[in-house]
């Protein structure tokens, strides 16, 4: 699990990466820079993932494979793995989103 997170955090502009239990919003594994509150990010990501899943089911567009939340001072990128684990990256606003997404998808494959 840590190897999967390593690949994400090596991308320039990524401040941290986490594996989060999608059902309960708890941290499974994390590699975060100082100052990032992992439990808060995990709870937020799981809460958003649950609401998003229901909204997308209602809209009839299937399950999400990647989502990107852009804020003033940072960005949150998430890939849900088939097991229900969320692979999460916290990054700078100007991070290379394509590269982070690639590493998140790889990590999700590893996690299963």
């Amino acid at each position: 699990m840590n190897a999967a997170l390593d690949l994400i955090t090596r991308v320039r502009g990524v401040r941290g990466a986490m594996l989060v239990a999608g059902d309960d919003g708890l941290v499974v594994a994390e590699q975060l820079m100082e100052g990032i509150k992992g439990s808060a990010v995990a709870a937020l990501a799981a809460s958003l993932a649950g609401r998003l899943r229901r909204a997308m089911e209602a809209a009839g567009v299937g399950a999400s494979v990647f989502w990107h939340l852009q804020a003033d001072q940072g960005t949150l990128l998430v890939v849900p793995a088939p097991s229900g684990i969320l692979v999460v990256a916290v990054a700078e606003p100007d991070v290379n989103v394509g590269l982070v997404r690639l590493e998140l998808l790889r990590a999700a494959e590893t996690v299963g």
């Binding site: 059902d23 919003g25 995990a42 709870a43 649950g50």
Partner: protein, 156 residues
Amino acid sequence: MTARAVQSWTLTPLMDFVREASARLVLLMTPAGQVLAQSGFSRAVDVMSASALGAAIVASTTELAKQLHQPPFAALNHQGHHHGIFLSTFALERGTVVVLAVYDLDVSSLGLVQLFYEQLAADLKAASPKGGVPKQVLAADFERELSESLNTLFGR
């Protein structure tokens, strides 16, 4: 969602917690089962049952920890198919407060409840009146105290 408090200083932190954690039912009480505030309950009998059961769980897990020569358990979570139950205690100058929260798994999660529980504990510590120890409820007065609390909680 209706929230009512016997101790008025608990009301704002309780309402913030309910809103932010999307909790369905919340009970603030003492380890003896005296209710300080509630949110989401519609019947007095449910508050009485939940407070008695919550206090009993805290008492039994505290005793279990003693038997294991451990400090008391920080929190207990039970996750069912549709709901989760979170039970935890923290210390105030006035004594220990027990928090019992029931949340729908569709709209909340253990992570959210834990996150905002920390905020609730901090807010209650800040709002708690300083100095003066609350009066102890004697067994002889317990029924009257309970009736008065329930009357306050349900606006009778």
